[in-house]
Symmetry: C2
Subunit: 107 residues, 2 copies
DNA sequence: CGGTATCCTTACAGATACTG
DNA sequence: CAGTATCTGTAAGGATACCG
């Protein structure tokens, strides 16, 4: 039982332990998106919060940020290989959410 | 694409979308625990925060709370069937965390 | 032992205005 | 378009004291 010394679950939490990061991953799993697209697809997030989460995730090696030297500016975000590997986690969250809804609906 | 209208990932987030709840599930997956044991095994959580999270999770049908009519008091927490089914999510978080550590260690 | 009540401090997040 | 700067409100969380 290595739970105490750097439990892997806590490692994962430290990287995607907030709601916004999970939603960012979810939306980038569909493919590369521009800043504005991402903001729109997440829905209720502000530019400030989106930016700060993206910066952190970039630092942690989960996403790529590609800036085009154009006017008006164009910035594309995509998942790195590491970021994409989070698909397994998101998939299990998706499945669980679905069956939870089913159970609740049945009440 | 039903992402907009009640995405299952968001459903899951709404139930275990905070760090503490994930850790509570993780520790209860080992089996029934008393309040004090749970508090100790999670580590840095305060009684107030632990109590409020447990209450919410009880309400949502993820955990059971069993009170023994004894002095001194004894209260045991365990996962419901629904709560236990979150093991799949925790498992994938565990695996991902492990491989992330490996990748980072290799740098 | 397993909480509650209270106070207090910060982290998180929304709104708005502005810029390269 | 893709941010940054600033200001502000709110809620999460820690510390402490106390209770059944």
């Amino acid at each position: 039982m290595d739970r105490k010394i750097n439990c892997p679950v806590e490692v994962t939490l430290s990287l995607i332990g907030n709601k916004w990061k999970v939603l960012i991953i979810r939306d980038l799993l569909e493919g590369t998106k521009r800043f504005g697209e991402l903001k729109k697809s997440i829905g209720s997030i502000s530019a400030k919060v989106l930016t700060s989460n993206l910066r952190e995730m970039e630092e942690e090696g989960l996403i790529n940020r590609k800036v085009y030297a154009e006017v008006p500016p164009k910035v594309e975000y995509s998942l790195t290989e590491t970021g994409y590997s989070l698909k397994s986690v998101l998939d299990s969250m998706y499945s669980w959410g679905e069956s939870y809804k089913e159970v609740k609906g049945r009440v």
